[in-house]
């Protein structure tokens, strides 16, 4: 199951992050997970939201450079070694992870990990074979 993620270009200047989140809030879009990677001049904000298409439209209307990409979300038990096992499943099949970020589900003791890989289908197969729980789109959006 592939989840849609927003990648947003933001300049490193005061207030830009707030502006982006404000646009989402005023469109009734909830952020489920967030990660930011930055350099000295700019950053890329990655978001999982409850309504990616609506968020994309709203951001584009506001002239923000944004794109939607497919990522994989997995659930791992919140204890040591949980994540390591999932990564090993992928590396055993020579699937490299471009980036990943995790967040905790407040409702139970599981962590969700968002994985960005080159080939989603191949990675999904590997994770399935390795008995790693893959999250459905609806599960993520409804956290």
């Amino acid at each position: 199951m592939i989840i849609k993620q927003l990648s947003i270009f933001v300049e490193n200047k005061a207030g830009r992050m707030a502006e982006v989140t404000q646009i989402l809030a005023s469109n009734n879009i909830d952020i489920r997970a967030l990660s930011i990677a930055d350099t000295t001049d700019y950053g890329i904000l990655r978001l999982i939201v409850n309504n990616p298409q609506k968020a994309l439209d709203a951001l584009k209307t506001a002239s923000i450079t944004v794109t939607l990409t497919g990522v994989i979300a997995i659930a791992i038990p919140d204890h040591p070694g949980g994540l390591a096992r999932a990564i090993k499943v992928l590396s055993d099949r020579q699937i490299s992870i471009e980036y990943m970020y995790a967040f905790l589900n407040p409702n139970n003791a599981t962590a969700f990990v968002i994985l960005r890989v080159e080939d989603n289908e191949k990675a999904l197969q590997a994770l399935q074979d390795g008995n790693i729980r893959i999250m459905k789109e609806s599960e993520i959006y409804e956290i």
Partner: protein, 437 residues
């Protein structure tokens, strides 16, 4: 391309040595003519110790002081005229955006020479007696419309003096007259093409095949759009009203520079800062001496336009020197670490890059003793956001393009869409922080 026609084979295919000899002869005469007929030049040249006898070779032109637009303004309206009003056949003026307009006069001979020059450049561009040409430059005090008008009449073209504006009517005449050539500014030609598409008549009803565009700059990208919009071949021509108007130079159908009418104009390029004459082939400010003008001869007029001149013979058969399309204005030139940089060069390097928007900003700083140039562009393509490597690749591509064009290493900064300042009038794209303390 049709076969190459040359209007004045004698003047346009002269041997280089003969062109130079003719220019030298005319320059000597001109210096004496100016001293004898224009008090301003009498004073200037006497002070500089220049006489006709002292001009032995063409390179001696460098001892003659420059003439500037301010000189023309300071002698408004007729102070630089070399003939009495009985000899003046026409007067034009260019609008001054600041201060007084610059006024130029023409004798009968000047008008005849001018029409001949326009006949040459329009023939070179591909016009002839089958041409039905609509002139969509504004008639009036500007030199553009009437200059092309009389030259095109001379080659036997049917001239339609539409002037500018009233686009619907222009388009109607175009369809009904089967107009096949257009004189206009590039921006008006483009606007007309858009109107033609929207007006509902099929484009087959228009017969334009040649555009003689001028009076403002035109990037290759804009030229392509005009050509696609009209399905016509677009040529560029050049001429300042101060030195005569359109017709000083124009592109032949090979479009590899604008052939200069060298029997009437002596052209040099100079370094606009040091004012030294540059070797042929080096880019600098164009300086023009009018070799045959009777009414208002100008010695070494500083055009402020940046170009370079080549004397290589052209495949069209003409031997006249060619100047590049105007690269920019010397007023806009930046000097960074000893390298001349024009905003238009940056623009040309960025044209066609899909991932960024068309707006840019240049920021010049002094860090320690070195100048740095930062180019800010707007990132519009979200598809590169997946990997930092791809974003960096965009930055590096821009950097490499700019290094090729400018010969300078620059810092490239990606900005958000619509974050750079927009301009409705003349764009101010340069922020020079070097003189701030």
């Amino acid at each position: 391309m049709s076969k190459i026609a040359i209007w004045d084979r004698n003047a346009e295919t002269m041997r280089r040595a003969d062109i130079r000899a003719l220019q030298l002869e005319r320059l000597k005469h001109l210096v004496g003519y100016c001293i004898n007929n224009v008090p301003f030049y009498y004073e200037r040249l006497t002070k500089a110790g220049v006489t006709a006898e002292k001009i032995k070779t063409l390179s001696d032109v460098q001892y003659i002081p420059f003439t500037t637009k301010d000189d023309l303004r300071d002698h408004y309206p007729f102070g630089l005229f070399a003939v009495p009003m009985q000899k003046i056949a026409r007067i034009h003026a260019s609008s001054g955006t600041t201060g007084k307009p610059t006024v130029v006069g023409y004798t009968k001979n000047d008008l005849e020479n001018w029409a001949q020059m326009v006949a040459r450049i329009t023939t070179a561009a591909g016009a002839d007696d089958h041409t039905i040409v609509q002139i969509a430059f504004g008639y009036g005090m500007f030199t553009g419309a009437l200059g092309l008008h009389y030259g095109l009449e001379k080659i036997g073209a049917a001239v339609v003096p539409c002037s500018s504006g009233n686009t619907e009517k222009q388009l109607m005449f175009m369809r009904d007259f089967k107009t096949n050539a257009l004189v206009a500014t590039p921006s008006y030609a483009l606007y007309m093409a858009e109107c033609a598409k929207e007006s509902g008549y099929p484009m087959e009803q228009y017969h334009l095949r040649l555009g003689l565009l001028g009076s403002e700059g035109c990037t290759p990208e804009m030229r392509d759009r005009i050509e696609q919009g009209w399905g016509m071949f677009v040529t560029d021509n050049y001429g300042l009203s101060e030195v005569c108007g359109p017709g000083m130079s124009g592109e032949c159908q090979l479009r590899c520079g604008l052939h200069i009418n060298e029997d009437h104009f002596l052209c040099e390029t100079i370094n606009p800062q040091t004012l030294e004459v540059l070797p042929v082939g080096e880019t600098g400010e164009l300086v023009v001496t009018t070799l045959t003008k009777e009414a208002i001869p100008l010695l070494r007029y500083r055009t402020k336009d940046i170009t370079k001149i080549t004397e290589e013979p052209c495949a069209c058969g003409r031997t006249t020197a060619r100047m590049d399309k105007i690269k920019g204005r010397s007023d806009d030139m930046l000097k960074i670490r000893g390298v001349n940089v024009f905003p238009s060069q940056v623009e040309s390097a960025l044209v066609g890059m899909q991932k960024i928007g068309p707006h840019y900003q240049l920021i010049v700083r002094r860090e320690g003793f070195a100048d740095t140039l930062e180019v800010k562009v707007e990132l519009v393509d979200g598809s590169v956001l997946e990997k930092f490597a791809e974003l960096e690749a965009v930055q590096n591509e821009i950097k490499n393009r700019l290094r090729t064009v400018l010969g300078l290493s620059v810092k490239v900064t990606l900005a958000e869409p619509k974050s750079l300042e927009r301009f409705t009038g003349k764009a101010r794209r340069v922020i020079d922080l070097r003189n701030e303390h």
